[in-house]
Amino acid sequence: MVSYIIRRFLAGLLTIWAATVITFVVIQLPPGDFVTSYIANLQSSGTVIRAEEAEALRQQYGLDRPMYVQYAKWMGLMLKGNFGMAMEYNRPVREVIGDRMAITVVVSLAAVAFIWVLALPIGVYSAVRQYSLGDYFFTFLSFAGIAIPNFMLALVLLYVSFKYFDVQNIGGLFSPGMALEPWGWPKVWDMIKHLPIPAVIIGMAGMAEVVRIMRANLLDELRKPYVVTARAKGLAETRVIAKYPVRAALNPFISTIGYIFPFLVSGSIIVSLVLSLPTVGPLLYKALIAQDLFLSGTILLLLAILTVIGTFISDLLLMWIDPRIRFGMEGSN
């Protein structure tokens, strides 16, 4: 088992390295570079940059070097814990991301909490009371949740909150004026008040999906002979369901940990844009548009690392929770 964990760990490292290469190449693929978008921006302020000036700018940013040199420079910096400069911000990438990472984690955790807290009981209920009125109701809801694109939901909610409720600072995570305040209870409370809408919107599709998965898995389990046997022997219904079938049905749940975090960051870009959330998503989007190598590269790399770590953790959890996997492995060893 230890060798399995070590193998998984090394494979993870290799995956991350491959991700850095792919990330870097992909960012470099579109025509133009940061200087191109910088110049476009200057033009909108009435200045025209000539070819020689553009060249000089490229030299200053090191953009005139071949791709592998830039990659080596980036990797070298990163190994020293320096992620380079975010070009539009003219601040170290670490600072720019750091500001937004905390908020991203909070929003994501809220969304995950929303998904799990609701999806588990609903999934179990739907399976146990299959074809009941409640099941139809939740089925309808979860199909709607999956079918409605979440940015659309966000737009509608935004409009409704503007039209029918007196909402200050539409979208966003803080009331006007609060963003500048130092962190403290009033600010935290202000954020908590703003959290439910983004959490529900971001988590809606995920929740609907998990409800469907849970329901289907549990239904499979409930039809197995061991459940019939347990019932026949007179075990209490709640025990019958909670003790074995639910545990067995949890497996796919655990595996979702691997992708749920990166999904919440990258999959919610459009929602974060629409809701104007100061999270990493919009930052990534704009960095890609501006072709900011270091900023977008670092965020993408971060996502890759999150995925790898998430998968690793879910593998460990599965081993721990499901004896079949654990024993199956030992058997093969």
Partner: protein
């Protein structure tokens, strides 16, 4: 028995479910069907309308363009008359008072500054203002204002510096009269002398002007900028053609408050350059971060400059802040919107930087401007800009009345919703149409060479005229510009002195298409063969003649315009391929001379000599001939030399105009516009709609707001209206 019972149960459940669904549907229908129906219908386009105006494509943008057209068509006929006349006012603005006899003698300051003076954090007002005879005295457009308040706006991120520059910048030696463009008025300079027809220009700076940290601003700051920044090859690798020291332009300080510029030719345009957005003297606020601007705070920046500070110290700072070299550190320190420590000369200065969610500007206690009663400007304490990650959110916040004054990023397509919610949001909407002729114009690449056959036709004047004749401009005006714009050619507005005459608006550019004449022209130049679908054929290989345009999803719904034009041109048998592309890609391809036509607003052409790029191919950013532009700007070293008479003539005229007297310049400008319009190098569609940065949402409690203002790049609108005189009418309450 058992089974039938179960069946009954099951069917009962189905009935229940059906009932539920029916109720649900009814509720939904009721919500949509009550009195709020128009609101619900318009809501969707409004929310999505901002998407095409965004600088990048994203999923909703596609849907929005498809959905907007009907909404616009519905709105236009009903409100057409009212919209134009009620939203476009008369141009008005504050005045700069130059008669010292009428200057105020007593002065007052904002309460927040009095507090700081009382607590000893700030010197008294008299010690902060320039000597009384050298004050910048501004007569507000309507009345004397009141101190206080925070002006709320929205911005889109660290690249949106203009958002602050345009309301709180304007730190130029001279600036523009708010009403009579291009009349130059004093600003940082009190007065000027033009000698030898422009070979020598003397600027007199105001005595006693201070940087925002209290240090005096003198010619030393200008000379520091000139000698150690502008002339430093690392900081400024290429010097501006508008101040070409290699051709003999010089700058010297004759005393603490006098600057002397000399030129080897009669540079009568130079005063306008000083007031314009040309980077070299365009002010520290906008251009400090490129080493340009015209002056810089020597006392602060010397610590980051190797001419003054120890290299080891600088290297340590560079390393500490994570930069690669001293140049990037220096530029960062001289960035108005990012560095709160930077001494500035603007009415407001950065308090919380643009790299955060809330960019805040606070009043500059040393600002050198006062109103006619002697109240130090600005009236408003702070400007607070909240980050909107997306233009849709920004527009929605404007609709909700969350901004006090905002024109930037507000989309014309949202006008109906903006008006509908004006009362609830307690704001009013103004339109400020600019003078440039085309809010959407096809700049036809004359230097295109990638396909010889296509190039041949693009360079054929009759071909371009036929294309122009075939466009239904009225339809574009109704669908895209809500019927507000002026259909016609790309020529500058009739209100501009450079306009050659009203007949040029219609020249080859009628409001309704002239298909007959267009077809006759196309037939006459030899494009007579057509394929089975009715499209004209190439003359070299007999295949269909295919033109391509690459609209950019930004500012105006260019893709929608291109699609309407595509349908118009199909009537002429001309096939237009519309391929939307991202801005950076189009501009890269344009610089490489690869695109056939560039669809854009021709902004800046209203200041023909200062920003000619969308009118004449004088740089590789010009859509009408990037390779000609390379040739012109490199003095023939690169690019393609134009050989046709019209281009030779127009380049010659332009060079003459740059060095002519102001009166001659206007005459020459008119002649240039005659040629441009007759040659149809740019096929104009609709202009003067206000769609380009001209849709202004203003809360009703703001005072000194012009009903219409001059909307021009050089004037950094609304800077031309002196936002330091804007105020909140309820500030005292």
């Amino acid at each position: 028995m058992l089974y039938s019972q179960r069946d009954t149960l099951r069917s009962a459940r189905w009935m229940l479910l059906l009932t539920l669904l029916t109720i649900f549907t009814l509720v939904m229908a009721a919500c949509g069907g009550d009195g709020s129906e128009p609101a619900a219908e318009e809501a969707a386009p409004a929310e999505e309308a901002a998407a095409p105006a965004e600088e990048a494509t994203e999923a909703p943008a596609e849907e929005a363009t498809a959905e907007e057209a009907p909404a616009a068509e519905e709105a236009a006929p009903a409100e057409e008359e009212a919209l134009g006349s009620s939203l476009i006012g008369e141009i008005e603005g504050p005045k700069i008072i130059t008669d010292e006899a009428t200057f105020p003698a007593e002065f007052a300051e904002a309460p927040m500054l009095t507090e700081m003076v009382d607590s000893g954090d700030l010197p008294a007002l008299a010690d902060r203002l320039p000597v009384p005879s050298d004050l910048l005295v501004i007569q507000p457009v309507h009345e004397i204002g009141q101190y206080g308040g925070t002006w709320r706006r929205g911005f889109t991120g660290p690249a949106d510096g203009q958002n602050g520059h345009r309301v709180a910048g304007g730190d130029r030696f001279v600036f523009w009269d708010a009403v009579n463009f291009p009349e130059v008025v004093p600003n940082l300079a009190k007065s000027w002398e033009i000698n030898d027809g422009g070979k020598e220009i003397i600027l007199h700076l105001r005595e006693g002007v201070k940087w925002s940290d209290g240090e005096p601003f003198t010619t030393a700051d200008v000379m520091f900028w000139f000698e150690h920044m502008y002339m430093n090859e690392e900081l400024v690798p290429v010097r501006s053609p508008f101040f070409n020291v290699d051709e003999g332009a010089t700058l010297e300080a004759t005393d603490e408050y006098t600057l002397r510029f000399t030129f080897p030719f009669e540079n009568s345009l130079f005063l306008e350059v000083l007031g314009s957005s040309v980077n070299v003297f365009g002010g520290q606020a906008i251009f400090g971060n490129t080493g340009m601007g015209g002056f810089a705070p020597a006392h602060y920046l010397e610590q980051f400059h190797p001419d003054f500070a120890d290299q080891a110290d600088i290297d340590a700072k560079v390393a500490e802040e994570g930069f690669d070299n001293w140049v990037n550190l220096f530029k960062d320190k001289n960035t108005w919107q990012r560095n709160p420590d930077l001494p500035v000369l603007t009415p407001w200065k950065t308090e919380n930087p643009i790299t955060t969610d809330n960019w805040v500007l606070v009043r500059n206690p040393y600002y050198f401007g006062v109103d006619t009663d002697g109240n130090q400007l600005p009236y408003i304490d702070r400007i607070s800009m909240t980050l909107a990650e997306d233009l849709e959110v920004l527009n929605l916040r404007a609709i909700a009345g969350e901004y006090d004054y905002q024109a930037r990023h507000i989309s014309l397509a949202n006008l109906p919703v903006l008006l509908e919610n004006a009362e609830a949001g307690n704001y009013s909407v103004h339109l400020d149409p600019a003078q440039h002729g085309a809010d959407a114009g096809f700049q036809i690449n004359q230097s295109y060479r990638a396909d010889e056959e296509i190039a041949k036709w693009l360079q054929n004047a009759d071909f371009r005229r036929a294309l122009s004749l075939g466009i239904d401009r009225d339809a574009i005006n109704e669908v895209i510009f809500l019927g507000i714009g002026v259909p016609g050619s790309a020529v500058v507005a009739e209100s501009s002195p450079f306009n050659p005459g009203p007949e040029y608006r219609e020249l080859w550019s009628p409001a309704t298409p002239d298909i007959e004449q267009a077809n006759a022209l196309l037939d006459s130049i030899g494009l007579t063969e057509k394929d089975a679908d009715g499209y004209r054929l190439r003359t070299d290989n007999g295949e269909r003649l295919v033109l391509e345009v690459n609209p950019i999803p930004a500012f105006i719904q260019f893709t929608k315009v291109a699609e309407l034009v595509r349908d118009d041109w199909a009537e002429l048998g001309i096939f237009l391929n519309v391929v939307e592309q991202e801005r950076g890609l189009v501009e890269t391809r344009r610089a490489a001379n690869e695109i056939q036509m560039f669809l854009w607003q021709n902004d800046g052409t209203d200041e023909l000599y200062l920003y000619p790029y969308h009118a004449l191919p004088v740089a590789n950013t010009s859509g009408t001939g990037p390779a000609y532009g390379d040739w012109y700007s490199s003095n023939g070293a690169q690019g393609i030399e134009p050989t046709d008479e019209s281009h030779i003539k127009v380049f010659d005229l332009f060079s003459q105009g740059l060095k002519a007297t102001p009166e001659e310049r206007v005459t020459i400008g008119q002649e240039i516009w005659q040629i441009i319009t007759d040659e149809v190098w740019t096929i104009g569609t609709v202009g003067q709609s206000g769609a380009f940065m001209g849709v202004r949402v203003v809360k009703n409690n703001m005072g000194n707001i012009p009903s219409r203002q001059f909307n021009i790049q050089a004037g950094q609108t609304p800077n031309i209206s002196r936002p330091s005189t804007f105020y909140f009418t309820d500030a005292g309450e």
